[in-house]
């Protein structure tokens, strides 16, 4: 876990790979192709890259039209604009028509940093998760991001792939494979289950190490597929450990914590704590400062786990 790379780095590079392999991928951007890394794809495949300008609704609509005609259409932008500004287009055109559009924005969550609350999208997982037919992927590192993009390209229908701006440690080896709807147990434990996604997987792994020092053996699960959620793996773990902490760089309302709570509530009610942003907007600051400010660090996760264990006993 020494090398650090942003998940967004996988975006443009993987699109080039897919095009090289003969897939009919196209990319539609809204004036952010440098930030989203599709500029690389645009250089490699200029006739398959379309810039709509600063017009995210049009970006989704144009991508939808490309998908109607058999293209695998990827759209970029920042998560806040890609989902919030174009929600109706994603709902009524992409999902309602069941189109092969992959919404893969970057700069999600508070780790976008100093741009502040207007740009720190903390509701996107909730917005996308509720759409019929939409699959929601939150890869933990650049390797997982690459594989998530490949799976989305190979699977017909709408996908949301949440990518980040900030560099995060590389967790997975090159032999990692992404399975749609499968959560991955990264570390086995018996006392508490930590279910994380995205940049929080690294924090959960570190939290598990901290807990280990107290003799608490935490199980860590990377729930990279928020929808369809791997309820079987998560509830099986919950029934073994008897306590679950969810960890997300997102609002605790509607995201991973909600999805896990729904699964546990129906299948395996155990004490649950949700680490995430608690119904407030983001604020300017450096990513590491913000992780502390909003209580999303490994130390915060470990503290939640300890409190939860007290409740369990």
């Amino acid at each position: 876990m020494s090398e650090k790379r942003a998940t967004r780095e996988a975006y443009g590079a993987t699109l080039i790979e897919l095009a090289n392999e003969g897939l009919p991928v196209v990319a539609v951007d809204a004036d952010l192709s440098g930030s989203t890394t599709t500029a690389k794809f645009a250089s490699a495949y200029p006739d398959r890259h379309f810039n709509v300008g600063i017009a995210e609704q049009n970006m989704i609509g144009t991508a939808a039209g490309l998908a109607v005609e058999g293209k695998i259409a990827f759209t970029g932008s920042f998560a806040v604009f890609a989902t919030g500004r174009a929600y109706d287009q994603i709902r009524n055109t992409v999902c309602y028509s069941g189109l092969d559009v992959k919404v893969a924005p970057t700069h999600a969550g508070i780790t976008v940093g100093p741009d502040g609350g207007s740009h720190q999208m903390l509701e996107d997982i909730a917005l996308m998760r509720v759409l019929p037919g939409m699959r929601v992927l939150v890869p933990a590192d650049v390797v997982a991001a690459r594989e998530a993009i490949r799976v989305a390209a190979a699977t017909p229908g709408p996908f949301y792939i949440r990518l980040g701006r900030a560099a995060v440690p590389v967790i997975y080896d090159d032999d990692y494979t992404f399975e749609l709807g499968r959560a991955r147990v990264l570390r086995s434990g018996v006392h508490v289950t930590l279910v994380a996604c995205g940049v929080m997987v690294e924090q959960a792994l570190t939290a598990a190490e901290q807990l280990e020092l107290d003799g608490i053996h935490a199980e860590v699960i990377d729930a990279a597929t928020i929808k369809p959620l791997d309820a079987a793996t998560i509830t099986a773990s919950a029934l073994r450990t008897g306590a679950v902490v969810t960890c997300e760089e997102h609002s605790v309302i509607g995201g991973l914590g909600s999805a896990v709570a729904e699964a546990l509530g129906e299948l395996a009610p155990v004490p649950l704590a949700r680490v995430g942003v608690r119904d407030v907007f983001g604020t300017s600051g450096e990513p590491a400062e913000l992780m502390e400010h909003f209580g999303l660090t490994a130390t915060d996760i470990a503290a939640s786990a300890r409190e939860l264990l007290a409740r369990k006993r």
């Binding site: 379309f50 709509v52 039209g65 490309l66 109706d88 009524n92 309602y96």
Partner: protein
């Protein structure tokens, strides 16, 4: 077929579609007659002369595409699809009913011949542009036609898409504005003035053509004349009357989105039936119509 016979045949199709529109909305008990009737001549001209399509093969790759951006006018599309043979006429009476392929707004996953689902206003032209990009990429000569309502032009996305098409040289796109001047709350000019519609499209770089949307000859000219520059998209601003063909619906915003009562239906169908009969007699010798 002579031009006169072709025009008469299209007019007869439009008359049939108007009758079907009112009949299916009356049967459904809800729907949007005003904007369906205003667009009948436009859609009939498209389906029964302009579009290259084959109802026996809705997925024929080289077919011209039609996107109904003003999705609430679904009945006019369904009437055309039935008349063209995409769906059996018996489906028309299932409009808006549970289990029907004819949803309140077009659903491409339920109804063959519907290229893409629409209903949330302002989204069709962007989709049409995307389709046109893909067709060009595939060196497919098919064209994309997109019908918009005038009230719909108040949506910002329309102008995002209007900016996009000329910028990307989408000469294979034709937009058509059903300019009937009315929206739900009243006259467009009073609810939110559109200003000069033709001037706006021209300012965005489109080749603008204006015609009466009820003059089939004018529509044929506007929709078939090649553009001066093949890389410039064409927009046809078609001036229409909302509720066209039903005396008590014409020009009345109140008929945007409600079904007629039994008595009103009888009156409307009597008027439309007479028009259908008249159109049928003038096009009696013109039996060629239909898909090419």
């Amino acid at each position: 077929m002579t031009d006169a016979a072709r025009i008469a045949a299209i007019e007869a199709k439009a008359a049939r579609m108007r009758y079907d529109i009112v009949e299916m909305i009356a049967e459904a008990g809800s729907g949007h007659p005003g904007g369906s009737l205003s667009a009948a001549d436009i859609v009939a001209t498209l389906y029964f002369h302009v579009l290259r399509h084959d109802p026996a093969r809705p997925d024929w790759p080289e077919r011209d595409r039609f996107v109904l951006s003003k999705g609430h006018a679904a009945p006019v599309l369904y009437a055309a699809l039935a008349e063209a043979g995409y769906l059996g006429r018996d489906h028309l009476k299932t409009l808006r009913k549970l289990g029907s392929m004819l949803q309140g707004h077009p659903d491409c996953q339920k109804c063959a011949g519907v290229e893409v689902s629409t209903g949330s206003l302002g989204q069709g032209l962007a989709i049409a542009n995307g389709m046109a990009l893909a067709l060009r990429l595939d060196e497919n000569p098919a064209r994309v036609f997109c019908l918009l309502g005038d009230g719909e032009l108040q949506e910002g996305e329309v102008w995002e898409a209007a900016m996009f098409a000329p910028h990307h040289g989408l000469g294979n796109v034709t937009a058509i504005v059903d300019h009937n001047g009315l929206q739900i709350d009243g006259a467009c000019s009073e609810v939110m003035c559109l200003g000069g519609v033709a001037e706006k499209w021209a300012a965005f770089g489109w080749e603008v053509r204006e015609t009466s949307g009820h003059d089939v000859e004018g529509l044929l000219d506007a929709l078939t004349e090649p553009p001066a520059d093949p890389a410039v998209p064409v927009v046809v601003v078609a001036y229409t009357v909302k509720g066209k063909g039903v005396s008590f619906m014409e020009g009345d915003a109140g008929w945007h989105g409600k079904a007629p009562s039994a008595e009103q239906t009888a009156t409307a169908l009597a008027e439309l039936g007479a028009a259908l009969e008249a159109a049928g007699s003038t096009s009696a010798s013109a039996t060629e119509g239909g898909a090419r």
